[in-house]
Amino acid sequence: MAVTIDDVRHIAALARLGLTDERADLLMTEMNTILGHMAVLSKVDTKGVQEAIGVGAQGLPVRDDGGAPIPLARSLDAFAPALRDGFFIVPRLSTHESAEEE
């Protein structure tokens, strides 16, 4: 299951990472090397073994599905890259390219 340059491009798009050609080539090599070390797992007999779903003796206790928002010590505009009327402002989607930017 060698990773190809097309795989790298596809994965980068899924992960929303822009890559130069040089970086994509390097990542392809690195990913193949690293994943090559993972091949040992395919030889392990895991028939009937459950996937790990919690690692503590307590499992994952479920809390009430509710509660108040966590109070913030400073307002959104103290850290938001762009904010208007309490909303985060982002560039328009490409499907709305004809619309005016922001």
Binding site: A15, L17, G18, I34, E51, A52, V55, Q58, A73, P91
Partner: protein
């Protein structure tokens, strides 16, 4: 008249502060002076990414209530350094990354609040591998941290700045975080104590998530007692973290009262391979002999799936990271770089904001979770993870109280010496198992190899940190405090 105590233990600082022999302000001044003396700044050891002297001097006070309480806070007057992925209200929280450059959290981590409530002073933010991904603190946007006992070498990682702050004698306690060994490995490399609690023992509210089924806040201490007091202070249930356990927290700093006589110490053969440096083996044998002389039974045991931990870890952790780090996209906080439309902004922001190791792990994680590869990699890894956890359950159920192993295969390596990613990943070979199984583990100094500190690792069953500390206290008494210093 008060007396500054620059390198006191947490217990002595607390006692001196409570009795009025010193003040928190004097202690903070001493710690700041120590930071200058050891050249902790960017051009020197590069321990801190944020350390606001004037803020600390202005706010290094404890309330009259804390001073007049019949039982003063366990860390009254103690400065505690904080890893840069733990949210604080004054200093920025950047995770050592450009993508969070200058970001100041609007809320405070529960562990930091608990430190303050116990009278401690959160003392600056420490350097780290970006988003805790690394084993050397070379992957920081702010440059590498140097190992105080050997400045040409790495301090380990990812919590290298916190380890260095303690090893340099600036603070007696520091907080780090653990995902695969990021507290224990740097503790071993720097000659100090480092503890990873049981998964669920400490609240993660305010810890920036890397791999949620593995992450835990951990504690560094100059001594076993410092680490025990630090953990006692921050542990316990937190309604703001649904993974924190509803269990009482023992007084770990009283664990020294329990003798190790009659305890069973397991020696897992997989952690003592033929290839282990004979000098490292000799240090471990000396430690085990001390425990035997104190009345512990040393028992050879096996954890047969240990050798699979690194492949499992480097599938599970990147998979979870690829999901957790999706939130850093330039929309709500942190860096934003404009691009062609919304998608272009995402890609430009993340490509410029993340460093090479974080990018590599996001790519790996996205790949192993993607259609066609999920079963072969992620599902398989989670099944093998069960086998690794079962190894521990079986050994502890057989009557073993605590396991004893090396923390790392080697002492600290020179800065820049390891460029191959997988070779770097192998630094976690003896530590990642505890994170995968969720059990508590700690590293303590056991001596030097080639003039460099090395650590011995103790592991216990879930929520049995107290047993681990009892053994650690006994070993420290036998070997001497700071056996690697």
């Amino acid at each position: 008249m008060t007396e500054p105590i620059p390198t006191g233990t947490a217990a002595s600082l607390q006692e001196h502060t409570a009795s009025g022999r010193t003040t928190t302000a004097a202690t903070v001044d001493s710690a700041l002076a120590r930071a200058r003396d050891v050249n902790a700044g960017r051009e020197g050891l590069n321990i801190f990414v944020a350390l606001d002297d004037s803020y600390l001097q202005d706010h290094a006070t404890v309330s009259a209530t804390q001073l007049t309480d019949t039982e003063p806070g366990l860390l009254l007057g103690v400065p505690v350094a904080i890893k840069d992925n733990i949210a604080t209200l004054h200093h920025p929280t950047t995770c050592g990354s450009l993508i969070l450059g200058g970001y100041v959290s609007p809320y405070e981590a529960t562990v930091v609040r608990r430190l303050r409530e116990a009278g401690a002073v959160p003392f600056g933010k420490t350097n780290m591998d970006e988003f805790a991904m690394g084993s050397s603190t070379e992957n920081s946007a702010y440059g590498p941290t140097r190992n105080p006992p050997a400045p040409d070498r790495v301090p380990g990682g990812s919590s290298g700045g916190s380890a260095a702050a303690v090893a340099a004698g600036i603070v007696p306690i520091a907080l780090g975080s653990e995902t695969g060994g990021s507290v224990r490995q740097p503790a071993a490399f720097c000659g100090i104590v480092g503890v990873k609690p049981t998964y669920g023992r400490v609240s993660r509210f305010g810890l920036v998530a890397f791999a949620s089924s593995l992450d835990q806040v951990g504690v560094f201490g100059a001594t076993v007692d410092d680490a025990a007091r630090g953990l006692r202070t921050i542990a316990g249930h937190d309604p703001l973290d649904s993974t924190s356990a509803l269990l009482d927290v023992p007084d770990y700093h009283l664990a020294h009262r329990r003798s190790v006589k009659g305890m069973v110490i397991g020696r897992p053969k997989e952690y003592f391979p033929e290839s282990l440096d004979p000098r490292m083996r000799a240090r471990l044998d000396v430690a085990l002999e001390h425990l035997r002389e104190l009345g512990a039974e040393i028992r050879d045991v096996s954890l047969p799936h240990t050798g699979l931990a690194i492949p499992v870890y480097y599938i599970v952790a990147p998979a979870e990271a690829s999901s957790n780090l999706a939130r850093f996209d330039g929309v709500r906080y942190g860096l934003r770089i404009g691009g062609d439309g919304l998608k272009g902004m995402y890609e430009a922001t993340r490509s410029k904001g993340f460093g090479p190791e974080v990018t590599r792990r996001i790519m790996l994680g996205t790949y192993v979770l993607s259609a066609g590869y999920y079963d072969a990699y992620y599902r398989k890894a989670q099944r093998v993870r069960t086998l690794i956890a079962d190894d521990f359950s079986r050994v502890f159920a057989s009557g073993v109280d605590v396991l004893f192993t090396p923390t790392t295969p080697t002492p600290a390596f020179p800065i820049g010496a390891i460029s191959d990613p997988y070779e770097m990943y192998m630094s976690d070979i003896f530590t990642a198992t505890a994170n995968l199984a969720g059990v508590p583990a700690m590293s303590q100094p056991i001596g030097r190899v080639g003039g460099l500190p090395v650590g011995g690792q103790l592991l216990a069953a879930h929520f049995q940190e107290e047993k681990m500390f009892s053994v650690a206290y006994a070993l420290e008494r036998a070997l001497g405090v700071g056996a690697s210093s």
